[in-house]
Amino acid sequence: MSTQNQNQNGYMLLFRGTDLRKGLSPEELQKVTDNWMNWFKRLTEEGKAVAGNPLEREGKIVAGKDRVVSDGPFAESKEAVGGYFLLDVATMDEAVAIARECPGLPYGIRVEVRPVAGECPIAADIRAEAQFAQV
């Protein structure tokens, strides 16, 4: 892949999937957990992971002009985010290679790999438009 996949601001991995706690034996669950923690520890030691947290399977959603608060489907949904890592790597290739090591993949976890924006992309768009208008 080309240099347009370079990103100085790092990448975010979002782990999505249904709650792994359902359907795995205690031994399997312990194995996945241990592998996951060792993976994060290694990435941290290598300076490639700078932050990461599991999210509780609970929370709320705020939406709309009226700012209504509702319960989210955080336990059942296959789309629910269960945790994240922030990676200090410079290319999409490297971020994807790390995502492919995720110990949850065989159990149905999907990893979303997203470049972190240095500044709000909306503000960047506006500036680009303003420059274009001046030309």
Binding site: M12, P26, Q30, P54, K60, V62, A99, I126
Partner: protein, 137 residues
Amino acid sequence: MSTQNQNGYMLLYRSDEWYEALSHEELQKVINQNKAWIDRLTAQGKARPGHALERKGAIVSGKNGRVLFDGPFAESKEAIGGYLLLDVETLEEAIAIAQSSPSLAYGTSVEVRPLAEECPLDVRARELAREEQLVHA
């Protein structure tokens, strides 16, 4: 639900590219509002640096780590466009901050999630191990 949490909260912003439809002036207004809002929260010690995510990326899935490069990161209303980490202790306060997000007026939704101190999988594995011990005791 316990509403106290020492580890803080994550706000996940979901939306399509709503800003594509705004005029230059409207857009600049939202950007300024948003910046002032985040600056205030940061000055109060309630928010750690957050970031927008580029509207591109990849999804990795399956045992063999299949990579899909064209995710629905632009069109879907469910797509995550950014995040903010909050240093507040209760869900109520995190919700109140989420409710004050300027971009809500434009159709974004905000997911408010407690950060876990310990991996919930680990906690569950220990519970199961304890249950098994009780059965065999």
